[in-house]
Symmetry: C2
Subunit: 476 residues, 2 copies
């Protein structure tokens, strides 16, 4: 009873915050230079973001109410309000969730994990790279760190810890469990940064960058830009944790054995697994080369992937219509992108930029953007969801970055990368964190300390080495 009423209270408060934030802005005097309609849009947009963060009801429901409010108040026409549902990025995201379902359903994801462990499982450090490699290979096709970690890697880490009698609360956590939990968690924060389709917030940010900065970020340009700093981060992260927080067990023949047994159990690759693997391979090819060869957009590729999985019967149509997460995301994602696009069209983004430009005209953009990036990175301490944070923070920071003169594609990509990487900081900043942290293998102080140390390593890698790489690519 008590728990329910506490929850009810929190929910009412969240409702109140959402409603108040919107109403206050709505009734504030409209600044000169802005249409009243644009100001109302801003009010509803901000209420939506507050709703996304405080979550009185699920994000999809918040977005639906926002849409109805926009149209009923005549802030937007119905056609404008529905325009987000035709946005290619919405359907890319939607499709990615179905492709992820195929990986889990066919068992291909688990098979890949065991294959990497069979190859790399001889010692603890290499084992952690094996888990990272699994995450990395799955990342382009599973647009949710949650799905990769929760569905594939976390259960595996758990059983690896158990075969070495490493349990959370009896002093044996440090034998091997703590190390693997931490490296796997941190690995996902990097892999999500590497691919357009590795995380639902990524297409969202790319879509926002398109509507706000007018830059088109393709699947290939994203992966190419992330390549050098990404590989360095992936290689260096386990070493740092190994040094700072070493496991007691260093050799792991049992892990290799486990993988061998599991693979023997699984037997030969089944037909659906083949179909899934070939589809995924084709998708990768098209994501990488499609745009430059035949003008095939990444969303087209993703939709093709779903169609192929339906035709090859990897997924039934029943399973597709039952994939609630995909539909939920389609709703809030489309509505959010639509609002951002009209904020821009109604001149609000420009207005904010102009205000800031007057302010910091005297700095060089390099200095201004560096400061901006660092502030942006560490505001990761204040958010409990990357998607909510991307909705709330990406557009304003990008606008400011553009206002100080940062090259658009460069700013758009760096802010997208940093959002993902800053998942390293806390045990609540992303949906994956509570899974690993909740397992109890890692103490909260260690979690935060290592998170902070990694952040200090990542920033120079991404802003420094990355900067050189992006200069070579011609982005700066």
């Amino acid at each position: 009873m008590r728990a329910v009423s506490v929850k009810k209270n929190a929910q009412s408060r969240a409702f109140l915050w959402t409603f108040l934030s919107g109403s206050i802005i709505w009734f504030l005097p409209t600044p000169s230079g802005i249409e009243e309609q644009a100001w109302h849009l801003l009010a509803i947009f901000i209420a939506t973001i507050v709703g996304f963060i405080t979550k009185p009801i699920p994000m999809g429901a918040v977005a639906l109410i926002a849409l109805v409010t926009l149209v009923m108040t005549k802030t937007l026409t119905l056609a404008q309000g529905l325009s987000g549902f035709s946005h290619p990025t919405s359907w890319l995201t939607f499709s990615s969730f179905l492709i992820a379902r195929g990986f889990i359903k066919t068992g291909l994801a688990s098979r890949l994990a065991y294959l990497f462990i069979r190859i790399l499982g001889q010692n603890t450090l290499l084992l952690s790279y094996g888990l990272l490699a699994t995450d990395l290979v799955l990342a382009p096709g599973m647009p949710s760190g949650n799905a990769r970690a929760g569905g594939v890697i976390f259960p595996l880490v758990k059983s690896l810890a158990q075969i070495y009698q490493s349990e959370p609360h009896d002093g044996s956590a440090r034998r091997i469990g703590s190390f693997l939990m931490l490296t796997s968690f941190q690995g996902t924060q990097i892999t999500t940064a590497l691919f357009f389709t590795a995380m639902v917030a990524n297409p969202l940010m790319a879509g926002l960058a398109g509507t706000i900065a007018g830059v088109e970020i393709t699947w290939f340009s994203w992966a190419l830009a992330a390549l050098v700093p990404g590989v360095i981060s992936l290689l260096i992260m386990p070493l740092i944790i190994y040094y700072l927080y070493p496991p007691r067990i260093k050799r792991t023949p049992k892990a290799k054995k486990l993988a061998q047994n599991k693979l023997a159990q699984m037997g030969k690759i089944s037909n659906p697994e083949w179909c899934m693997a070939l589809t995924f391979f084709l998708l990768l090819l098209l994501w990488i080369f499609g745009d430059s060869l035949g003008g095939i957009k990444s969303a087209t590729t993703a939709l093709l992937g779903v169609a192929l999985l339906v035709v090859t019967q990897v997924l039934s149509w029943e399973e597709i219509t039952a994939e609630k997460k995909a539909w939920n995301i389609l709703l809030w994602f489309s509505i959010l992108l639509m609002m951002a696009s009209f904020l821009n069209e109604f001149g609000l983004v420009n207005f904010v930029s102009e205000q800031i430009q007057g302010f910091i005209d005297s700095f060089s953009w390099q200095l201004a953007f560096s400061v901006l990036s660092i502030v942006y990175f560490y505001n990761g301490y204040f958010f409990a969801s990357k998607a909510a944070r991307a909705s709330a923070m990406y557009a304003p920071f990008l606008s400011v970055a553009l206002a100080v003169g940062t090259p658009p594609v460069y700013a758009a990509l760096v802010l997208a990368f940093l959002l993902n990487l800053s998942g390293c900081l806390t045990h609540y900043g992303t949906a994956v964190a509570p899974i690993y942290f909740g397992s109890g293998y890692v103490d909260i102080r260690v979690w935060w300390k290592i998170g902070f140390i990694l952040s200090v390593v990542y920033l120079p890698i991404w802003l420094g080495i990355g900067g050189v790489w992006w200069r070579i690519l011609g982005l700066i």
Copy 2:
């Protein structure tokens, strides 16, 4: 085993037909006066319709594959291909399914049925009107004859028959069961014609009318046009069946008693039922007056309805994302509308109209449209789904009607009404038919005979009396 392989064979054949129909048209020489791109669009469109009718895979999957094919073959751009998802009618249809869910979930639908039976249940004829009245009241908010009949009315008819010991196969069917089954089934064929939101094919046809004939059919204009012939049909149909196929039991005090008991069991109207009822009442008001008063479109109203059901917790967000039928329809509906709209934009509709115009220039449109209507009505014998039939037949017949000079709004409405009414003909023409027919109370010869007799009654009511009514309304 055998059943499975028969099913597999039928599926392969359906696939083959779908694929062949598209390929043959694709590779035929393009008629002069038509762009190649338009011809390819037509090929894919026709394959989609064949897929909708033969159903090798569910309609949503067929539509998805069509979308991918259109974009991959560069027949349409990705943006064009996705444009249907922003169509207001798609979201109206989607929302209606969720509103229907609210009726069933809260129990409001059953309560209404028992209320009508308590009032009208004293004799068999009035009882049948009570069931019709339930269907009629629910129709605007439940966009599927299937949901009304399968979820509310059929189970009720079944239990009414049983309390009078009227069973299908022991000679007691004619006591009361046969009569109620037949009138309820035929009632749904009329109620689906009465409201924009009474049947999924209706918004589809209205959408097609918008893209092809450029006429906007509002919720109100639909209901107003259907009012006079609809009420006459509803009043006359049970009388005809009562005369041709009378029940042996004429007085039904037990039905009244049953309704009283059930209502006593249900107790007072619950909070969710109140919320549902008030929401529905508001929706009706807005559907009727919204457009003329505040320019509130029917899709906005429907989305508002869903938002209200979420806010009042009649429906959880979980239930909304789990409403597979709604998502399935959103997909195929949007893709079909999009294709129809580009068929028109690419000049194909015009092209066909011009060919026909040259042909039948010598007839008056009144004569030509009457012949057309009758052909259109009786092609109901050849289809097993109203939605598939609307997809395949509505657009071509409307184009021809326009080509011979029929006033657009009039043509659009009449063809929409007739599609629904012609569900009276067979025991397979609409999803509701197999439910009632399958109960075994009515012999196939009786079913078809009464269906045909009713069709002969309906055509003069709708084309004749309706014609006078529409002339008064200024549609002709």
